[in-house]
């Protein structure tokens, strides 16, 4: 355990700091913004699409190609849909202000 922590120090520091940043970012948000915030965060985890692009770009057999293609499409849905929906929500909030 101790050796594991010592060996992956950098990573653990990174992890802790990131978690901390995520928590801090949310802790002072007014509740009307909860839904757009959730939606924005939803779009951001669409970054998983990068994994699907890599997988797809290295795929060799047909099954991998098909699965990879589906993964890319779904990931794009997450990213594009996520950001667009968030933008639409926020547009509502700003209206004529």
């Amino acid at each position: 355990m101790i050796d594991f922590i010592a060996e992956n120090q950098e990573f653990i520091y990174l992890l802790i700091l990131m978690i901390f940043v995520g928590v801090e970012l949310i802790s002072h948000v007014p509740s009307v913004l909860h839904t757009p915030l959730m939606s924005g965060a939803n779009a951001i985890h669409g970054v998983v699409i990068i994994g699907s692009i890599i997988v797809m770009g290295q795929a060799e057999d047909t099954v991998s190609l098909v699965l990879g293609f589906i993964a890319v499409v779904l990931g794009t849905l997450n990213v594009v849909g996520g950001f667009v929906v968030t933008d639409r929500m926020l547009e509502m909030f700003k209206k004529r202000k």
């Binding site: 797809m56 890319v72 667009v84």
Partner: protein, 477 residues
């Protein structure tokens, strides 16, 4: 490749910055665009600059672009077409897609790993090569979490669309916990080399999908926003495991940020409703079949009023405050209420809307709903700011709201909503409550407000009654 690392760094920064800016009304929209920009950088950077260990670039570019274009087209259309009030299920759907993407990545990498290792899965397990075993464990983690997130989100989507009803099997909690432990156990035994079947991973994927369904199924439809937020953070974690797998910093940062921010957001949403997360997940408070909160209901008589009397009251008032609630959204009465507001303003009545933070079924529900009918943003007043105004208000019109004006939250420590801040409509001279019956709202409890002397009930569907009010007002001139 080095340029790609720099792009990833920039993208990570835009994610952090974007999330931060999303937290404040003034900067939220720009924050979203900044994060989207960073995402585009990361995606196109990966396509063109990624190199594997041997320095080879990515292949299959036409197919990749095909996928991107297809996904963009569908996503764009869906997001643009969806009705404002159906936003939460849309978010849930997109979240599910992200989860599925994460799960698929694990699947493909698993196939890749077993095909390219001598002896397949057994070869990997026997080699006791700790790096390979770690990769296998990460794949399992991404697969399980992604699958749960996918199927759970789809169920949540169905519930919000009204296509799936709440359903609770007998002993469901026990089944759920058992299933979850089973899934984890199978994965652990596989990585530990005790179970060695190559198709085990597919079985685990199936079980995880099942678990997602069973997890969300019994939770009340009204609690879906909380569940979606939780599944959102799950997908974040699944994405982070992807980052782990590829040692890819931007996936790691994006995933962990969303994982931790999403978890906190879930907790904060529960707090705003004065409940704990556990209570939402296993409690039956928001479920279909609940008894009323505290034993006996309040005693007393209920005064009812008709539309024409109510119209007269409002017409001759100086100041009217409208309290919209879930019922307004159900009745889709946002346009009529705006018409009423304009008629009253034309008569010289000051009209405002009192927005409770958890009115409706998702945070900001009332804002989104009323914005759709072009209600002036300045007329929407938050709870803390409007509460001091009730004493100077002649008529409060409560439209399809119930819990958010329930005085039990202040007076009855036994009430499940005790401690939740409410709109103090009782301070006004006169309260008109518009709803279809005496039945309770989300929390399933009685509301003494309806029995007060000041209160008059205007029974009926919100849209119908509002239309009547509008007609009465028009005919009076």
């Amino acid at each position: 490749m080095n340029i790609l690392y720099v792009l990833y760094l920039i993208a990570s920064l835009t994610f952090i910055l974007g999330l931060k800016m999303l937290g404040s009304p003034k900067t939220a929209r720009r924050g979203n665009l900044i994060a989207a920009f960073g995402m585009a950088l990361a995606i196109f950077g990966t396509i063109f600059l990624y190199e594997d260990e041997h320095g080879a670039h990515l292949g299959n570019l036409p197919l990749i672009f095909g996928g991107l274009v297809l996904g963009t087209g569908i996503g764009w259309l869906m997001a643009k077409r969806v009705k404002m009030t159906a936003m939460p299920q849309m978010v849930s759907f997109f979240n599910g897609m992200g989860g599925a993407c994460a799960a698929l990545i694990s699947l493909i990498e698993y196939r890749h790993l077993t095909q390219h290792t001598h002896g397949g899965l057994s070869g990997i397990l026997n080699s006791a090569d700790s790096e390979m075993l770690t990769r296998l464990a990460i794949m399992y983690a991404g697969l399980i979490i992604g699958s749960i997130s996918f199927s759970g989100s789809i169920i949540a989507y169905g519930k919000l669309e009204g296509k799936i009803k709440d359903k609770m099997l007998p002993g469901q909690q026990v089944i759920n916990i058992g299933l979850f432990l089973g899934i984890v156990l199978l994965a652990v035994l596989n990585v530990a080399g005790i179970l060695t079947s190559e198709s085990l991973l597919y079985a685990v994927a199936g079980l995880a999908l099942l678990y997602g369904v069973l997890f969300v199924m019994p939770i009340g439809g009204a609690d879906m926003p909380v569940v979606i937020s939780l599944l959102n953070s799950f997908t974040g974690i699944a994405a982070a495991f992807g980052g782990f797998l590829y040692d890819n910093k931007v996936m790691l940062i994006g995933g962990i940020l969303v994982g931790s921010a999403g978890t906190l957001l879930t907790i904060v949403m529960c707090q705003a409703m004065n409940r704990s997360l556990l209570n939402v997940l296993i409690g039956n408070f928001g479920g279909a079949a609940t008894g009323s909160g505290s034993g006996e209901g309040p005693q007393g008589t209920v005064k009812s009023i008709n539309a024409s009397d109510a119209a007269i009251l409002m017409k001759y008032a100086k100041k009217v405050i409208i309290v919209p609630g879930y019922g307004l959204a159900v009745a889709q009465a946002q346009h009529v209420v705006h018409e009423l507001e304009e008629l009253l303003e034309a008569e010289g009545v000051e009209v405002k809307y009192a927005i409770h933070p958890v009115a409706g079924r998702m945070p900001g529900h009332m804002n989104v709903l009323l914005a759709e009918s072009n209600v002036d943003y300045d007329k929407l007043v938050e709870m803390e700011d409007i509460n001091p105004e009730f004493p100077t208000c002649d008529v409060v019109v409560v439209i399809g709201a119930n819990d958010v004006v329930n005085p039990a939250a202040k007076t009855d420590p036994a009430s499940p909503i005790y401690g939740m801040p409410i709109l103090e409509v009782e301070d006004a001279r006169q309260v008109i409550v518009m709803k279809r019956s005496m039945s309770s709202g989300y929390a399933g409890i009685e509301n003494e407000l309806f029995y007060r002397d000041k209160t008059s009930m205007l029974f009926g569907d919100a849209k119908k009654m509002l239309t009547e009010l509008v007609n009465e007002l028009k005919s009076m001139d």
